[in-house]
């Protein structure tokens, strides 16, 4: 059940999107997000949707995977759309009953928001589907490296991210094991009241925490044995090189962005 959680799940491949330099991919994603938020009319969202769809097709990621990434936000979508539907009362009413009033503006806003959120999630999961976690952290480290001037520990942050990603599957597996072990001792993990639920978590959290601390200690020693010394004088095996196609992709995304801004102003 815990295995269903997908954090930065990578879907290996060799498509055009996969091959874009991760630094560019992050920037393009940011441009895309900005596009969605600047855009205030349906046309803007259409432009965003075209861009997103085009990227998905180019990435050769099965459409099913994208839908899967949307599954966890179904609740959020439902709540926002319901809120928008009922709380926005301006415009022509479609339906009125006692204090409930559904208007054309309400419907419009809630549909608009749903599409915006779907595009947002689809776009960002495309980034994590097509970029390995290590390339992602690598790119973030490099993109943030100018901030070293302000004493921001960029290398350490990237290292922490790598280790966190590395240990997520290990700790998930461990959690499942501890849960089974406590269930075997009669722990009631789906216990009734909130108080019971909190109490039932203790036999899982404490062993997990202790084990994480132990792992951290052992990992630190192993890293020392391999001459780890922070970011000082460190080099990288994997070199990031940007190619003309990276600039093409970036240029394309900027074009879409300009289109969105243009539509906004024109209105």
């Amino acid at each position: 059940m815990l295995k269903d959680i997908t954090i930065g799940q990578y879907f290996p491949g060799d498509s055009f999107v996969h091959r874009i330099d991760p630094r560019f991919k992050i920037i393009i994603t940011i441009v895309f997000i900005a596009m969605l938020f600047i855009g205030s009319s349906p046309v803007c969202l259409e432009v965003g949707a075209v861009f997103c769809l085009m990227s998905i097709i180019l990435s050769k990621i099965p459409f099913k995977m994208i839908l899967k990434s949307l599954k966890p936000i179904v609740m959020i979508l439902a709540v926002t759309s319901v809120l928008n539907l009922f709380l926005i009362t301006g415009g022509e009413p479609y339906f009125e009953w006692k204090f409930i009033k559904i208007t054309d503006q309400g419907v419009y806003t809630s549909v608009f928001m749903i599409i915006r959120i779907i595009l947002l999630i689809a776009g960002t999961s495309l980034l994590t589907y097509t970029t390995s976690p290590i390339a992602l952290t690598d790119a973030i480290e490099r993109l943030l490296s100018p901030l070293k001037v302000f004493k921001l520990p960029v290398h350490d942050l990237a290292m922490m991210m790598t280790i966190a990603l590395r240990f997520v599957p290990t700790l998930i597996e461990e959690t499942e094991k501890i849960m089974s072990a406590q269930k075997a001792r009669g722990a009631d993990l789906d216990g009734g009241s909130i108080k019971d639920k909190v109490k039932s978590v203790i036999p899982i959290i404490i062993p997990l925490f202790i084990s994480a601390v132990r792992r951290a200690g052992e990992l630190a020693t192993a890293m020392e044995c391999r001459c780890y010394n922070g970011g000082n004088g460190r080099t990288k095996m994997r070199q990031l090189k940007c190619s003309p196609s990276d600039f093409t992709a970036l240029g394309l995304s900027l074009l879409f962005m300009i289109a969105v801004i243009y539509v906004n102003i024109a209105q």
């Binding site: 052992e218 990992l219 192993a222 044995c225 001459c227 095996m237």
Partner: protein
Amino acid sequence: MSEIAEAVNLEFRYDEEAELIFENLNLSFKQGEMTAILGHNGCGKSTFAKHLNAILLPSGGKVYVDGIDTADETRLFDIRQRVGMVFQNPDNQIVATIVEEDVAFALENLGGPPQEIRRRVDEALQAVGMYKYRLHAPHQLSGGQKQRVAIAGIIAMRPKCIVLDEPTAMLDPVGRNKVMKTVKKLNEEFGITIILITHYMEEASQCKRVIVMDKGKVLMDDCPKEVFSNVDKLKEVGLDVPQATELVYELNKLGLSLDTHITDENECCEALLKLLS
């Protein structure tokens, strides 16, 4: 200098009030040797191992690695490059999310040029037979495979010596076999000195030299056959002997006189044949 690692009058305690774990311990390891260290949990063997690459520093006496005093802080990386360490839990020594990135970790720390790192990483992965898994995530591998990745991460540094602290304790028999084969290959083909801490007698019997430690002292230090012939003494310190050796020991107790140096099934079978004919 043919000694790769040497402890001279080693003394160690974790802090001022703690008990001495070693007192006047003297041990040395020759370049190219394959040695097993045996002893029950808490006999000091892991603590000793951590002295060999300056993870721990002596409270008294000296430890030299390839002639370098491990207390010399300025040469810390020289020491750790020469003596690499592999630990028991394969999960807790892999840092990166991709096998080849993890093998590159030490070399990246040492600041080598990228092409050179690439070359050495590929070589190291081939040496442990994990090259085709180079793009896998660690959690997709079995325990034995992870342990071989950890070994590759060490040999990428081209160390002269590798200390393995119970590398097979958490593995199944198949993984254990593969790791042992890899370790033996590193010793035989690349001439890397191996110091193997283990509880498994069949692993110890594959080494040329076996050291038995008890309460921070060296109890025995000899070839496996000699060490295993002391069945009583080994049992006393909570250790095992191979079943073949035990059978000979039990038969001799009944007044027979079989060769006490028997450790493998071939020798045992031959001895029994002679006895019965």
